[in-house]
Symmetry: C3
Subunit: 128 residues, 3 copies
Amino acid sequence: MIVYDNHFDKLMMPMIIAQGALAMGMEVNIFYTFFGLQGLMEKRKPKLPGMFRFFTGMIQKRMAKQKIMSYHEFMRSNIEMGANIYACNMSMEMMGWKKEDMFDGIKVAGVAKMLDMASEASVNLAFG
Amino acid sequence: MIVYDNHFDKLMMPMIIAQGALAMGMEVNIFYTFFGLQGLMEKRKPKLPGMFRFFTGMIQKRMAKQKIMSYHEFMRSNIEMGANIYACNMSMEMMGWKKEDMFDGIKVAGVAKMLDMASEASVNLAFG
Amino acid sequence: MIVYDNHFDKLMMPMIIAQGALAMGMEVNIFYTFFGLQGLMEKRKPKLPGMFRFFTGMIQKRMAKQKIMSYHEFMRSNIEMGANIYACNMSMEMMGWKKEDMFDGIKVAGVAKMLDMASEASVNLAFG
């Protein structure tokens, strides 16, 4: 999976799909690039897009009520369960962001590595 | 295919692709999730994004002139021609939306079912 | 790959991935449709989305400093290196855009051709 956007809804989807895929015994590789890279920064809080940004908190409460994990919990759980989470090296350089500010367990990779993984994957999805 | 956005352009693409794929004898499965779920609500009228929303009517007229089906006609035609259209169960619960308000013939499915279908598909595309 | 958006970040990604894929000896086919079609118009200058549009120039300078090609250079280089770039015929008719205003070497194709290519590709990605 490739993630290239920083909004709450676009970041949650790959997390939920990853959780399902890991439970089914599939291998999960996610590559975060461009604005998507923000999703790996531990201190950032993703919002919904446009005027919906003000409803992000409401949606998060509704998800909590239904016992759905938060974005941060999903990310940590997926990494613990064995998902490979990659930050795009070119995007990191361009944004000036460091691995230390990202979630623990994040790997760094380039486009060639991403294409290698995608060529061998049975399902490829790009979200953003 | 996965659809995760509610804008007119993002909703039309999978419809047009589905129509082409069905005509070529391919099996078509589309999974609607997050904001994309709105695309299954029969009474909603999808708009173009941002300031382009005001041009939605103009584009629709231009498409009608070229004898391209409307969004609603495409959806009904694809279902009739055998496309499997799935509403994401988690998104339905979160939004509080019901199957009765959706187009006739819509099925409900979860992430596991979506991953099963995607694993076996020869083409996987995510739109949004 | 399918490109269906006209923003700078969404247009750069497939260019960078194409460049990497061509270097690895992979065949590259990119299909531009809906708003993505703007990315093939030689005179248009893609911008970042929303309020980020004002930072497009800043990002472009930062990329130039790191010796990353510009969007126009990427497009021309990919075509020269053998990427097949397709403009969606239905979108062209709808927008009233002509092949003469596009980059040299662009081909025109429909949904059926796109599905044929996608069925045979080992990696399919949709950006927008």
